[in-house]
């Protein structure tokens, strides 16, 4: 009996840690429904612009890397929204630990910059955990096949956070373009330095 219990606990631990890893390329993304700075709720599965997929970006107000990429995220939305891959930005931080990332400050920033994409708050911090995001910004490119959203690329936007004019590899843009041509992104996984998610 004791042995069985131990095995069950072990299995639970193993399964739990597998889930804690979050999504890998090839996984199907689950739905989320989160409050946007415009006051409405946005749900991935019901987002009408996500006809071919979505560019889900965990980002925030306070992180210098996130700030450095703000304009590039706006450009990406403008470039790919009409092609069926709109940006959906999600702030995963606990405002108690990162006061600049409060919902009020998100509304302020969104208005200042005129974000054309939904900027959502992951209030219960469940969505970033489901995805396995660890930092801001952290990108998950989803490809829609029928009504399923396939995780097709995970990682960073490009290879130079400091200076957009010095970028030589546009990882995310290349990945979306590959999907638009019916191909698989290569690389489909990249890393970047970022701010840890405040939880």
């Amino acid at each position: 009996m004791k042995k069985t219990l131990i095995s069950i606990v072990l299995i639970l631990v193993i399964v739990g840690s597998a889930f804690a890893q979050g999504y890998k390329v090839g996984d199907l993304a689950e739905n989320f429904k989160l409050k946007s700075t415009k006051g409405e709720f946005v749900s991935l599965f019901e987002y009408d612009k996500a006809t071919k997929g979505a560019i889900v970006i965990f980002t925030c107000n306070h992180c210098p890397y996130a700030k450095a990429y703000e304009d590039r995220i706006i450009d990406l939305d403008q470039k790919f929204r009409e092609k069926g891959y709109p940006v959906i930005a999600i702030n995963p931080n606990d405002p108690a630990l990162a006061p600049e990332d409060s919902f009020e400050k998100m509304i302020e920033r969104s208005n200042e910059k005129g974000f054309p994409f939904p900027y959502l708050l992951d209030e219960t911090q469940e969505v970033y955990k489901m995805y396995g995001a660890t930092r801001t910004p952290h990108v998950y490119l989803l490809n829609r096949v029928d009504n399923q959203f396939n995780v097709s690329y995970i990682g960073t936007i490009d290879d130079n956070y400091k200076d957009p004019s010095l970028v030589t590899k546009k990882y995310l843009e290349n990945a979306v373009n590959a999907l638009l041509k019916g191909k698989l992104p290569d690389p489909n996984f990249t890393k970047a330095i970022g701010c840890s998610i405040k939880d």
Binding site: R135, N160, A192, I193
Partner: protein, 159 residues
């Protein structure tokens, strides 16, 4: 006379700015990489941080205390700043003074981080703070914050 004093003052300020601006070495990853593979008898504690990273700033006193306690025990602490932007040197100098940091500070400035994160450690997602403790025999990697007791216990495994 007043003009001369003004010029003199100006020169002193300019000179000291130049002196200070050379205080922290700025490395590309290629230049930095040998610091992760030293083969001497020291234990290295390498912490990746930035002045704007709140959990990093919070654990600075931990590294200060570790420095004071182990500075004569063949332990070398290197604080690797990932800061970027304007007035980098003076901002880090201010930070060093404010937080009374005595450990070595260097700046890692290599924006193509995807090309080098795995070379630091394949388990690193890229989030900071992150700390590596190593000697010539072993390496341990921590993508997390530390309090003093936890960090000291990890260090003791290497002493």
């Amino acid at each position: 006379m007043i003009k001369k004093i003004k010029i003199l003052l100006f020169l002193i300020i300019v000179n000291s700015t130049i002196l200070f601006s050379q205080e922290f070495p700025v490395y590309s990853f290629k230049e930095f990489e040998p610091l992760l593979h030293k083969n001497d008898d020291k234990v290295y504690v390498i912490n990746f941080w930035a002045t704007w990273c709140r959990p990093c700033v919070k654990e600075i006193p931990t590294f200060n205390q570790l420095y004071e306690t182990y500075k004569n025990n063949n332990v070398e602490i290197i604080l690797v700043s990932l800061d970027f932007g304007k007035n980098l040197q003076s901002r880090i100098l201010d930070f060093k003074n404010t937080h009374n940091i005595k450990a070595t500070i260097i700046i890692l400035d290599d924006p193509d981080s995807n090309s080098w994160i795995d070379k630091v450690n394949k388990d690193w997602s890229g989030a900071i703070p992150t700390t590596i403790i190593y000697n010539k025999k072993a390496v341990k990697f921590f993508e997390q914050s530390f309090d003093y007791k936890e960090l000291e216990n990890e260090l003791k495994n290497f002493l």
